[in-house]
């Protein structure tokens, strides 16, 4: 019990420290693919440090809602991080239906991000806000249904229970196709939720086609640092849901499990970087179709699991 607690605490601490580094991995991959050298390894940390040292400019249109957005978003990400198991160990907080709390905490953060964007009265941010709201509404069923599929396979209704048992190879044989479809759905949800290509382009924010970046156009300094850090944590927390399926670990050795989890997280980010290098962003009208595909894939497990 105590050991589990410290293991989970270790996982959360790792996430808090290493999460910004995931950006480096993605950006380095993209740079290598484009034949560039890429930013320094610790660039995200320097950026955060610089933002934290800045003053602020607030629009006269904004109210406390605008200031609450980044704070609530970061707080909800801390919460979500405490619910996701790391390295086959139970999460800091785990109970039946914890996935619901995780999904709805993300929704709470999104609710405030959207309202903060609308608080500026800017049409650009309104545009980003409504896309974020719409696309996340479409991706939510895929996530929750995918977890239900994993639950049906492993016989558990909590994230820690599910990911703890996935390491048992008994599930692999007959359920392999179901797992693959759930994984595919999760990858699409991952790219959507983290505002990556092919749904969103994280590198520019002055185009009308952007989603997440355009919502935080007016945020600066400390607020922007909070948002960037929350984004990195989200990349980590949702990433664990994917790496836990691909590399389910239960070797028994704590350090080995943690090492495998970290390595698989790095591989995941390199894959994201590869996707970004090899694909263009989808036309905005196509995104609902992509999310529809994710939803369909998250439903297909029923053919192997319920007979």
């Amino acid at each position: 019990m105590i050991a589990d607690f410290f293991a989970a605490l270790f996982g959360v601490t790792l996430a808090l420290i290493l999460a910004p580094f995931l950006r480096t991995l993605i950006n380095r991959t993209k740079a290598r693919m484009a034949g560039r050298q890429g930013p320094p390894l610790l660039q995200p940390y320097w950026s955060l440090a610089r933002l934290l040292r800045k003053g602020a400019v607030y629009s006269t249109t904004t109210t406390w809602m605008f200031r609450a957005g980044p704070v609530v978003t970061l707080a909800t990400m801390f919460g979500a991080l405490c619910l996701v198991p790391f390295g086959g160990n139970p999460a800091l907080l785990h109970f039946e239906g914890d996935v619901l709390l995780m999904a709805y905490l993300l929704a709470l953060g999104r609710f405030f991000t959207i309202l903060a964007a609308l608080d500026t009265g800017s049409s650009f941010e309104g545009m980003g806000a409504n896309r974020e709201a719409f696309f996340s509404a479409l991706s939510e069923p895929a996530l929750l249904l995918g977890v239900a599929g994993l639950g049906a396979i492993t016989g558990s209704v909590s994230l820690s229970g599910i990911y703890g048992r996935l390491g048992n190879s008994a599930f692999l044989g007959s359920h392999l196709p179901a797992m693959i479809f759930i994984l595919a759905a999760f990858v699409i949800v991952y790219l959507t939720e983290n505002a990556r290509i092919p749904v969103d382009d994280p590198t520019t924010h002055l185009e009308l086609t952007m989603i997440h970046e355009v919502m935080v156009l007016d945020h600066c300094g400390v607020d922007l640092a909070f948002i960037e850090y929350a984004g990195a944590l989200k990349l980590w927390a949702l990433g664990l849901l994917i790496t836990g399926i691909v590399f389910p670990v239960s070797t028994g050795s704590f350090w080995l499990d943690a090492g495998v989890s970290l390595a698989s997280m790095a591989v995941l980010q390199i894959c994201v970087g590869l996707v970004e290098s090899l694909m263009a962003r989808l036309k905005m009208g196509r995104v609902p179709l992509l999310l529809g595909i994710a939803f369909v894939m998250s439903t297909l497990w029923i053919m192997w699991v319920v007979r």
């Binding site: 929704a107 509404a137 400390v222």
Partner: protein, 662 residues
């Protein structure tokens, strides 16, 4: 205990009559209604709490002069649970209504409104207590008619007359089905007493269908919901709050009351309820998203929440035939959502009423920046918005959490022969998730367009927060949203006894231990919420600490280099809903129109969207038009001359004679 119930009903009646009689002393007349309501609620609370705490059901029979039916009141766990929202919300709404109507300055209608408000509240309580078919229909009609007179408060306005008319027709069509249902039950069972309806007289399936249609018209099942988006905008805001938050739940109560009398719940009932849940939940939220009228939007959102309740009921039907806690969780979730929806929806309507009264319009796209002028109302409205989206730690999450949990349990491999619960759970999870996402979109639209940004028109430039008489009731409701959310565990314990004793469930899952466990599990959510609150506070302080002593300037919103933006160029509620209109084009059939800019130097241009209710537009309007055409033709036999009617009488007599001879 029965004494308190009768006293409560009597207080409703007497205080209503007194408010009518006090017309000449408005100061007394307006006070008598809320205080009467509070006193009646307190009286009713005693037996309700007694029954919920495990006391024996309260039963009362009295003399009855009609040859059929009986005066039989019965307060069991189910009635007691549904009485909770009535008791809790109605006095709050009543106090708010006093302040609200004072600002309207229509003394005559105000007196009548007080009377009918008492009649509506008392009628709802009467419906929950009535344990005899005829008595139930009587109570049902009192409630429905009182609501009608409340809807037509501003009776000289054409729109209001139309809304009232639609409500009247809808509610009576529903009642017609209930008549048929009770007559069928009465003829089968030989009495109208609910106690004799055990097993539903062997015609459970027919009765179920009649109940779904009859009670569904009141509850606002999608397809039967057409009166909600008409009546709620027309009625005064506190009446909309009471009708939308509490009255429509009597429909759910009626349906459950009938279902409880059945020996068993066949699986197809579950599919019917889940189908209704999907249609109402998704249809309600999508239609809510595309509305321009604030109160009409809230009315559609009620349809959505009724859908969520139906999803829970449907899962519960499946759960009866499966092992594990599915039935119990789903039923408890549905019942909790009944209570929680009453709280946050009435809070939304009361908050919206305060805004509408201050700015003078219900049109979302004319508003903006209201938060700066009405900060208190805005904060309370935000709490209710987050609650209706089911966001933790507010109360909307509690019921949804249990329904989700039931669905997650139902997909687990349990070695069951039936696939119904597993496929049902699968469907419910995806529907609830989509509803949740779209509801978040809907209510960020409402809050963003109404309260944030800059004012889009001159509407309500001098708006301020309402006085204490209106803001205190809203504050109480918003506080209840938070309290019920944080105290979700206690609510689960309270509902456990109700859900576990609902008749067919009591056979499958006689104990409420799973719900006790779920309530312990929910403590984790409360814990997480407290940690979250601490984190928010800490981060806020951190930001303040970091920014202290640094340059913090203000300036205009960044317009990407374009300095001449006007408030009218902001994203409106309609723009926010545009992806929905595009994505669900075939379902919504929105009408787009206006003058498009043309030529090199375009002049004035305009754009409008309108989404008519599909059922009203494509089904009911043509149907009633066809009825009207037939009726016009029938008029030919109504000549108005006495000799013609004498001829008809003779004709009828001859016909009877011939028929008896044959």
């Amino acid at each position: 205990m029965a004494f308190f119930l009768l006293l409560s009903l009597l207080i409703y009646l007497l205080s209503g009559l007194a408010s009518l009689a006090m017309g000449r002393h408005p100061a007394w007349g307006t006070r008598i209604v809320p205080f009467g309501s509070a006193a009646a609620s307190l009286c009713a609370l005693i037996p309700v709490l007694y029954v919920l705490a495990g006391g024996t059901p309260v039963d009362l029979r009295a003399a009855w002069s009609l040859p059929v039916g009986s005066f039989h009141l019965h307060l069991d766990l189910l009635s007691a649970w549904f009485a909770l929202p009535v008791i809790l919300v109605s006095p709050i709404v009543s106090f708010y209504g006093t302040g609200y109507l004072r600002r309207h300055d229509r003394p005559r209608e105000t007196d009548a409104c007080g009377f009918f408000l008492q009649l509506l509240t008392g009628g709802m309580l009467f419906v929950l207590l009535a344990s005899d078919g005829l008595l139930f229909l009587l109570a049902w009609e009192i409630m429905s008619m009182a609501a009608f007179f409340l809807v037509v408060f501003e009776h000289e306005e054409h729109e209001v007359q139309r809304a009232g008319w639609i409500y009247l027709v809808a509610t009576h069509l529903g009642t017609a089905f209930l008549f048929a249902m009770f007559v069928l039950l009465g003829s089968r069972c030989g009495s109208f007493d609910f106690g004799d309806f055990d097993g539903l007289g062997g015609v459970a399936d027919v009765v179920f269908v009649l109940a779904v249609v009859g009670f569904g018209a009141k509850a606002g099942f999608f397809g039967l919901h057409v009166w909600l988006p008409e009546a709620h905008p027309a009625a005064p805001s506190h009446v909309s709050g009471l009708m939308s938050g509490v009255m429509i739940k009597t429909g759910i109560y009626g349906l459950l009351r009938v279902m409880v009398l059945a020996n068993d719940w066949p699986a197809w009932w579950g599919w019917v309820l889940i189908g209704i849940g999907i249609a109402s939940g998704l249809g309600g939220v999508i239609y809510a998203l595309v509305q321009h009228d604030l109160k009409r939007l809230l009315a559609y959102s009620s349809v959505e929440n009724i859908g969520i309740i139906c999803l829970g009921l449907g899962m519960s039907v499946f759960g009866v035939h499966s092992v594990g806690p599915v039935a119990l969780f789903a039923m408890a979730g549905a019942l909790l959502h009944v209570l929680n929806h009453a709280v946050f929806k009435s809070c939304l309507f009361l908050g919206a009423g305060a805004v509408i009264q201050a700015v003078g319009t219900r049109e979302i796209d004319l508003l903006g920046g209201v938060q700066k002028r009405m900060p208190r109302t805005a904060a309370l409205f935000l709490v209710a918005c987050a609650a209706v989206c089911g966001l933790p730690p507010l109360n909307g999450f509690v019921g949804e959490f249990l329904i989700y949990l039931a669905s997650y349990w139902s997909v687990l491999p349990q070695g069951l022969p039936s696939v119904n619960p597993r496929v049902g759970g699968f469907v419910v999870i995806s529907t609830l998730a989509l509803i949740g996402g779209l509801a978040a979109m809907c209510f960020t639209k409402v809050y963003g367009a109404v309260f944030l940004g800059e004012p889009r028109s001159g509407c309500g430039s001098s708006a301020t927060d309402p006085g204490r008489d209106m803001s205190v009731p809203v504050t109480i409701l918003a506080a209840l949203c938070a309290v019920f959310g944080l105290g979700g565990s206690l609510l689960m314990l309270l509902v456990a006894s109700v859900a576990a004793r609902i008749h067919p469930l009591a056979m499958a899952a006689p104990d409420m231990a799973p719900l006790r466990e779920a309530s312990a599990v929910y403590l984790n959510v409360t814990l997480a919420a407290l940690v979250l609150a601490a984190a928010v506070y800490g981060l806020w302080r951190l930001r303040d600490r970091l920014l202290a002593g640094r340059v913090v300037r203000t300036g205009p919103t960044w317009g990407c280099g374009y300095p001449h933006g006007t408030p009218r160029m902001q994203y409106t509620g309609s723009s926010f809903a545009q992806p929905i209109i595009a994505a669900f084009r075939s379902l919504l059939r929105s009408e787009l129109g206006g003058d498009w800019p043309a030529g090199y130097l375009p002049g004035r241009s305009s754009f409008m969207t309108h989404t008519p209710g599909l059922f009203m537009h494509r089904f009911y309007t043509p149907l009633f038009a066809a009825f009207a055409r037939v009726a016009v033709r029938m008029r030919r036999i109504q000549q108005g001359g006495t000799h013609v009617y004498v001829f008809y009488v003779v004709l009828a007599l001859v016909a009877v004679l011939v028929w008896s001879l044959l």
